[in-house]
Symmetry: C2
Subunit: 277 residues, 2 copies
Amino acid sequence: MTSTHPFDKALKIHHSDIRVGHFTGMTSPDYWNMVGPFGGTTAALALQAVMQHPDVLGTPIALTVNYAAAIEAGAFDIQATAVRTNRSTQHWTVQITQAGASGAPSMTTTATVVTAARRETWGESDMPMPESPRPETVDRMSIGPSGVAWINQYEMRPFSGGIPSKWDGSQHHSETRIWLRDAQPRPLDFASLAAMSDMFYPRVWLRRAKHVPAGTVSITTYFHVGPEQLAEVGTGYLLGRAAGQQFFNGFFDQTAHLWSEKGVLLATSNQIVYYKE
Amino acid sequence: MTSTHPFDKALKIHHSDIRVGHFTGMTSPDYWNMVGPFGGTTAALALQAVMQHPDVLGTPIALTVNYAAAIEAGAFDIQATAVRTNRSTQHWTVQITQAGASGAPSMTTTATVVTAARRETWGESDMPMPESPRPETVDRMSIGPSGVAWINQYEMRPFSGGIPSKWDGSQHHSETRIWLRDAQPRPLDFASLAAMSDMFYPRVWLRRAKHVPAGTVSITTYFHVGPEQLAEVGTGYLLGRAAGQQFFNGFFDQTAHLWSEKGVLLATSNQIVYYKE
């Protein structure tokens, strides 16, 4: 008997018998971040609700997740609603809520998802994979006594722009390049791709070698694969690249790209992040 | 008496007296695209409803607009709802509907908006403005007999990656660099910045020198300015840069950046675009 992968446990949601598109779930201690769940898991859950909806059309194309409030440890509700179904595309809104102190639902997360029945077309890339050493030749990031559980769920091998060794306030470019995959092997799927798109720590820490408070406010991920391309990756490494763009008065954006080891650009992602000071 | 700017006419919406956050408006012939309004105007309208909402907190940080269905010429309804208000950030959902054939509202557009009360912090850029000739030295794009009204509303001076002169199916990189501003001078604001973020024609046309059917499915724009930075730009030129990233089975994404003439990165934007063949 094989045990359930921690990510599959974290994504386990139950569809209501009486309310279409309504799911319930529990936060996962395995993917806990400092003051709430790892945002990548939350993004994956929003996507998961759409993909498990009985009316879903096709596969995910775009996912935007807005982190409106911290999710507390415990139960949550997800409502996924197909607001428009066209011939080959479908538009979804998703809301994650938790029962508040008064018992009334408290909004923690909003999301929109676009799914589509893809057709085979001409294709090309204008964003080639950066040059990189082989994953096996790069040291695995050691996990410090940070108490941040989710980081242990991934095998991270940064070869450029790793977490600063000295928090000395020195200035650096905010780019990271890294090999990554699930620490416990798990074949790549849309949910894990959504989560991995959010695994780059706040660029402001790298930029300033300073550990200021920071948190993602909104993330948008585009998927450039179908089931066949995911299957080709399987449990292999992804090459991740992330960089900050503009840092201004409390918010900065960072852009991220994830390629397969063979050089296929699987997902592109952008997020806007709150920071202090 | 000065006449109202076409963009202000296009953005004119009326707030309901009885239903908070409900607005009505009319599509603008001045910003008509081929089969519906210019998507930039639609994005600006979603933002406008939030900014005119009596409960709005701060200024726009992030805007995601999903184009679920073409908007038809005529009246539309916008509902803007503050789903979560925190101490310094606010999360919004927006829906644009039109009365369908049956009279029931038909969903055309969903959006999410984040606004925030910014505080002064450290700031920097990791995305410098590309080298460019002075705007006056670049020829203004001539408007062909395309029948596409919205293009006439902008002064576009591409100095790299202009619209292909020959649709011969040859392969090119999908990057465009362009100076741009409103054809009829209008001081930059959040709404026009949202619209201009969508003014880069589909990268697949440039990439393939082929005029395949294409249309934006979802756009996300991050704003990196406050009122002071907008006022500094005024009616000046913006430098725009856009490039495609991944083209795969019917969808590609393109990334866009808009700098002020002085080199301040004002907005970063990404969109995913449907294409045929």
